[in-house]
Subunit: 331 residues, 2 copies
């Protein structure tokens, strides 16, 4: 795209990606680089790659692969309180599959348009191995206003958007695990959980509320438990999480109640792409109100405490639950 | 790094990459994103990935792999007339090889420091396939001043930095091709050519001169012939290139003279990472003078002509040479 254009690559790019690179700073993908206007704001930069066999499955629909690749980055932009400004794409492909590329570009273009995050450039390379989609996305925030992981303070409420654990259950279904068997009579629930794995719903509508009210925030990508432990570590605090308050979908709650899965699978499973944040008590009402206006469900699940340490996950009796795994690890 | 931190990944990042992420906007790689200050300038964005077996070889020294990954992007920043502002890194690794990572991070940190282009964040993922290093790099230019491919006009001189074709010869040596055999008695020449393939010398020192004097510019990454054809197409012009004027190293000139390689291999081979630009006649003297001050060799190799079309490559008699391949293509 913008850079490393090569003859075979050029025609690919012209056919599939030029039509979605509508921002003037993309120069129609005809140059070596893009130009991003800053308008006096800070540029928030985040990068996330998804790998075939790890973050998506070889027979996932190509448009959903494109959407996931962009949305995992949009989720970081939202959690930092920033507005999407654009992205660049690196595609490592085994070869040219025109139908696959056409569907991939269509999904990417639709999401770029609906989230207001234009394609600015990219690179296409060949690989003999698993395919990979790597995106670097940009957001804009007023100078110095990016919401960090490190601002949580004792007394802040811990809030999370949406529901937790659905994507991990969806992956289990795609792999033919116990969740697939338990839901064999409920295709609608299976479809909902699989779609939560394949196409995250980043909470960009909440970005302004996060920026105005959260003391610390991040997105939940590798499991609520492990990600929240990182937020606590960055802030030098601990917290008590009331696990019965952790929001789950009806499907997930049913599987929990039947003992098909345990709580740990839900809160350490990853791929949720919800926003987890700390909100000072005085801001909680306004934050909830603005979230409601933005159409994003938010739930209070615990309270930050002052001493530095691992967060404590408590059951309905207030007894601490011991977790073996906090999050998904690549290595 | 900045994003998608996972337990095993976290310790990798802390050990090898935190020490080189010294820019305040990198937040010590402890957050989901980085913040890039724009200072009222445009942010130039470029992205280039290198794949094992394609752009580097499995037993290339890890520090040179890191340098190449960063420098191919620095080369784009330079060609656009921009000053380096930072970069993010996506590493797709088969597993954790501590010695490899330590050497990779050392090479990356040294180059980030010497080119003034700090590590801002990144992502580490596992892959069962070939390893890949994808970098998105940022530069700063005064508003609206990024040098495009599209500004060349009839009468402009075509200028190129350094020497052309060495990297393609170096790759032939690493693959045990005819160049390796022809240079079996000249280890110094072999080493020079291999190092030109492994560690490009991006011309960032020339960025200001390019911005002030070139009407169009790009870096030569996929072969002088094909890349220049793209610049002509983007500008709606053609050009005559006097191929005897194309600068070559003594080693390359010797191989040409002996008939070991032809001119086509040199000008369509790729991996040069030199700057190719069009300079209006009135700016040529100043451009050459500033290049001299910056310590970068520049050579005039032809003249832009008005009619739109493929550039013509002429021999010493002024006869057009027919090229079968213009550049390296991935697909």
């Amino acid at each position: 795209m913008a850079s490393r254009q090569r003859s075979g690559e050029d025609s690919l790019i012209a056919r599939y990606f030029k039509p979605i690179a509508t921002d003037p700073g993309a120069f129609g993908l005809d140059d070596d680089a893009a130009a991003l206007k800053a308008h006096g704001e800070d540029i928030v930069v985040t990068t996330d790659g998804i790998v075939e066999g790890v973050h998506f499955l070889p027979d996932d629909p190509p448009d959903s692969i494109a959407r996931k690749a962009l949305r995992v980055n949009l989720s970081d932009i939202a959690a930092k309180g920033a507005m999407p400004a654009g992205f660049v794409l690196t595609l490592a492909l085994r070869g040219v599959d025109e139908a696959w590329l056409a569907a991939f570009a269509r999904g990417l273009g639709e999401d770029a348009n609906s989230f207001g995050c234009p394609l600015l450039g990219g690179d296409t390379v060949s690989t003999p191995g698993p395919q990979m989609v790597s995106i670097t996305a940009f957001g804009r925030v007023p100078e110095g206003r990016m919401v960090r992981r490190s601002g949580a303070r004792a007394g802040d409420r811990v809030m999370v958007t949406g529901t937790i654990g659905d994507a991990a259950l969806g992956l289990d279904i795609l792999k033919g695990g116990p969740v697939a068997a338990a839901l064999s009579g409920d295709p609608a629930a299976k479809e909902m959980l699989v779609s939560r794995y394949r196409v995250p719903q980043p909470r960009n509508a909440l970005a302004k509320a996060v920026r105005e009210h959260a003391s610390a925030a991040m997105d939940v990508s590798d499991g609520l438990a492990g990600d929240f432990a990182k937020l606590c570590a960055a802030s030098g605090v601990s917290a008590g999480i009331d696990t019965p308050l952790i929001p789950t979908s009806a499907a997930a709650a049913g599987l929990l109640a039947k003992g098909v899965v345990g709580l740990e699978a839900l809160i350490s499973g990853g791929d949720d792409y919800e926003i987890l944040c700390a909100v000072p008590e005085a801001h909680v009402a306004a934050f909830i109100q603005e979230a409601g206006r933005a159409g994003v469900a938010v739930t209070a699940i615990g309270t930050v405490t002052g001493e530095r340490g691992m967060p404590r996950f408590l059951d309905a009796q207030g007894t601490e639950i011991r977790l073996r795994h906090l999050s998904y690890s690549h290595f």
